[in-house]
């Protein structure tokens, strides 16, 4: 087994810290997110380590809760995306024909919408809220993942071990489940991490526009949106959640790259 490189390990550590951070809010570490602890718009100091907001609530527990909401929402959405993409991508890739055409045309239609327009459309249909954010993330991330899973499935389907299984009399569930799925799982895992970072960004953007998670529930998007109002007077309101958002997206991408290098290695030749 090859070791992960240092950058990926850094990314993993960063992600782990964020998860611990989010879990901490569940047990009440950092304080009550909705409790008013002091004067309004205080800069960071003892009692409110990331400052207080416009209602006098401590920012720290709100960021902790917000990370949790955002990570949970995005992860659930990405799991849904992965399940749907794996199903459609593998069936389209293995079966080909009309089914393949249908799936690919649908995916292309979705792909042609800019992410945020798609998200606003979904919010308009479902009404603003967590469900809309979740559905948006799924619809934004599903086209790319389905395309890549399908491409991988097409390649795997032509391999001799798949043909051998068919010749041995293996049925469709066995061929897809035992032979195709395990060999496209790497693609799904790698794309899943990228989708997760896209999901976090979509949640942030959609909520920022007021269509996603609704206050008083905290999410990174909610906090950034609220912080934006006081950006000049109290920059710490947007700085905390903003830094966390960027860190999360970067960390996930770095981990995704490391995962890709490990699961889909290419021999590298030095050119020196």
């Amino acid at each position: 087994m090859r070791k992960l490189d240092r950058l990926s390990i850094g990314g993993l550590v960063c992600l782990a810290v964020l998860v611990v951070f989010a879990l901490g809010s569940l047990v009440g570490a950092g304080g009550e997110p909705d409790a008013i602890v002091g004067p309004r718009l205080q800069p960071p100091g003892p009692g409110w380590w990331l400052g207080t907001d416009n209602l006098g609530r401590s920012v720290l527990p709100r960021v902790m809760e917000g990370v949790g909401t955002t990570l949970l929402l995005s992860s659930v959405a990405v799991l849904v995306t992965a399940a749907l993409s794996a199903t459609f991508g593998i069936i389209a890739g293995y079966r080909g024909g009309y089914l393949n055409e249908l799936v690919m045309r649908l995916v292309e239609v979705l792909y042609s919408f800019p992410a945020i327009v798609l998200a606003i459309l979904v919010a308009a249909v479902l009404g603003p809220g967590q469900t809309a954010a979740l559905a948006s993330i799924v619809l934004v991330t599903i086209p790319l993942m389905t395309r890549l899973v399908r491409a991988a499935a097409v390649a795997v389907s032509q391999r001799d071990y798949v043909t051998s299984a068919v010749i041995s009399g293996a049925g469709l569930p066995r061929v897809l489940g035992r032979h195709v799925l395990p060999n496209v799982a790497g693609t799904i895992a790698v794309q899943g991490t990228y989708a997760l970072s896209v999901g976090i960004a979509v949640e942030g953007g959609l909520t920022f526009l007021g269509f996603g998670v609704q206050p008083p529930q905290a999410s990174l998007g909610v906090l950034i949106q609220q912080g934006g109002t006081y950006m000049i007077a109290a920059p710490w309101l947007i700085l905390g959640p903003g830094v966390v958002l960027v860190a999360a997206i970067l960390a996930i991408n770095v981990v995704g790259d490391g995962l890709r290098d490990r699961l889909e290695p290419r021999e590298t030749r030095s050119l020196t």
């Binding site: 001799d160 071990y161 068919v166 010749i167």
Partner: protein
């Protein structure tokens, strides 16, 4: 006759709907493999031998003509032939699922039939010249020749009456090719299966086959005993192939 292709034609359509071109991959091909016999099928690029292999395995339906296995027309559902017909295919690199242990790969055809594997896997591995410990290895830990031995073990494990070898040794080192060809001959003497041995390499085909069919541009141009192919092939094209060796 274990397998008979009777006047089989396979036509593929290619290109956009309005300017569709029809290509005959096989044209009126008749072939038969007798009980315990090895039929060699040789031909160059695009001669139709891969399509013939797919037809023989029931992976490709003929456009016209009939295919009979063991005297009966091919069943509608491929699964009804499960275990009675197996194949060893071209690329040693892709012949085994990289995520499955060798033992699981060899046991799979039995698994499909719902038969218990028992000792069959280790027994089969030993028959193809691999120690029982290979069962717990992954394909990437094996050499090309070893992988092809595993493929042969997997094909034999259900004791099929008919095996297709499609370019089964073409990608191997020359000295390993002979080892695998010898193995195929020995196993055939022991188990008595019939075989269709397909290759672009007349040398390999001539070495293992009892009879040889030569394909060119979708047609069988000559079928004769192997002895004839060592001494005096009749068709002009067969002579060319022989000279190229």
């Amino acid at each position: 006759m274990i397998l008979e292709l009777d006047d089989v034609t396979v036509t593929f359509a290619a290109g956009p709907p309005l300017r569709r071109i029809h290509l005959d991959a096989m044209r009126h091909v008749s072939l038969s493999v007798a009980e315990g016999e090895t039929l060699g099928l040789v031909g160059e690029s695009g001669s139709g031998k891969t399509t013939s292999s797919r037809v023989a395995l029931g992976l490709q339906r003929p456009t016209s003509g009939a295919v009979r296995f063991d005297g009966r027309p091919f069943p509608k559902r491929r699964r009804e032939l499960a275990g009675r017909m197996q194949a060893v295919l071209q690329h040693p690199h892709w012949s085994l699922n990289p995520r499955m242990r060798v033992g699981q790969s060899v046991a799979e055809p039995l698994d499909v039939l719902g038969r218990p594997a028992g000792d069959a896997v280790t027994e089969m591995l030993e028959h193809v010249g691999l120690e029982a410990s290979f069962a717990s290895r992954y394909p990437h830990e094996l050499s090309g020749g070893q992988r092809q031995r595993v493929s042969i073990a997997r094909a034999l494990v259900t004791r099929p009456r008919f095996i297709v070898f499609d370019e089964a040794v073409s990608a191997l080192d020359v000295s390993v090719q002979v080892q695998i060809l010898n193995l195929i001959k020995d196993l055939q003497a022991e188990y008595g299966f019939s075989a269709l041995f397909i290759s672009h390499d007349l040398g390999a085909v001539r070495y293992v086959a009892d009879r040889i069919a030569v394909m060119r541009k979708g047609e069988v141009v000559e079928t004769a005993d192997t002895a004839t192919f060592y001494s005096a092939p009749a068709h002009e094209y067969s002579k060319q192939l022989l000279e190229a060796l």
